[in-house]
Amino acid sequence: MPSLLNVRGLTKRFAGLVALSDVSFELERGEILGLIGPNGAGKTTLINMISGTLSATDGDVTFDGCDLKRLPAYRRARLGIGRTFQIMRPFPGLSVLDNVAVGALFGTGGGDHNLPRARGVASEKLEFVGLAHRASQRAEALGGPDRKRLELAKALAMNPRMLLLDEVMAGLNLVEIEAVIAMIKKVRDQGVSILVIEHVMKAIRSLSDRLLVLHHGEKIAEGAPEQVLRDPQVVEAYLGRRRA
């Protein structure tokens, strides 16, 4: 079966700075691919380019056979690409339930046009992430970990086929991390392919089927977690940073 996401030679240049250089990889259906690398390696930039938030300078992204090149972010979302933001982007003035409902109303395939049904889906997702008790609160009243859950719930409500998670575990304690890992695995079991950016090593190791390592915008390793984490290049990238 062909891979779900196919990235070829993806490059991003800002004036005077190369954020991403010739990155290629594939995401298989039903796979959890972990994306790691030191700060500034270009991980979020990569996700931004897949979701359409940022345009690519060069290279191709194909999702389920569809060339994403000229598609704006909302069309990619409707194809089934969901994502969370590292710096969270809730809808502060809306209730937690309504936040998630937007995802259900507009997600894959254009979402559900029926508002009560969408709110029902939103309720389910809030149950799933453990936020049901805050459904009627304003999103801006939520604290850090709850906001992460909200981000996840919104993306899930879209009924995505691929989920791009950007550091959903930052700032969580061990118990919360375990809970999130379990959630992500359950999502994968429901048929969603996942690309996860994470810094928490223990989590990414137990979660990922494969790992992809970025450093200074380039791919330096790809493969099974244990093998990648022993790769000397990877170790050097994390422990002994070269000055740019």
């Binding site: 409707r78 502060p92 508002l115």
Partner: protein, 300 residues
Amino acid sequence: MAAAPWIASPSLIQFGISTLLLATLAQSWNIIGGYAGYASFGNSVFYGLGSYGTAIAMVQWHLPFGVGLALGAVLAVAFAVVLGLPVLRLRGHYFAICTLALAEVMIAIVSNVDIAGRNTGLVLPLLRGDALFYEMAFGLLVLTTLAVLWIARSRFGYGLMSIRENEEAAAVLGVDTTLYKVLAFALSGFFAALAGGIHAYWITFLDPVSAFDIGLNVKMIIMAVFGGPGSILGPVVGAFLLSGISEVLSTEISNLAGLFFGVVIVIAVVFMPRGLADLGRRFKQFGWHYFAENVRVHRL
């Protein structure tokens, strides 16, 4: 309320018509400013286009009022779509300023167009009977409010609100932000234009400066914001309340009315920035702390 024209005095009816039209304007602004979060300082343009569309149709082409209204509305919507596409790409301050500049430009352009009667303006045929205009204005307000009610409970409305709250997040959830913004702008312009058309026919005289009155922008925004942007009845309540108080003050000292508006805005922005609607909702929960809380959260 609909029965008012038959029991109230003529001057009260006139006040009623003015206020109903202003409330419609505030409500129409609510769609683009309150729900979509794009604070347009140029909705007076739609009002003026509605006025002139109606006037030109009736005066130059001798068409009936209904057709004139429709023409004005079509003009406004076309304008909203054509200009909305580039201008709605601007965010925040820039959007506000651009719409303000557009409003200024329109006055100057219309002053130089022959069919619009240039600077001297147009005189419309006279229709006696304020009661009729009152009912029209009332009907329009009801229509506009029903539209807002529908928006608030629809997928479209949720899309608009998500744009207001965080446009980038809305886009990655699948909201076609450009389409929705333009639709909101066009809808807003549609109702403003109808209000303009009714107003033109009512006062029977039209000139560029008063039709595209920049001061209207200010009034409609203050009324909508004071009443509660993004709420269903807020702008209406705001319009009636502020108009009423301003009218009372006007009869005392006219300067004072203007001063009053200014002070109200300043105090309201500091202590109740989300308007009366929000105050009403949360006062039960917070009591007087509501005001202090608003300051605490927003001060440096």
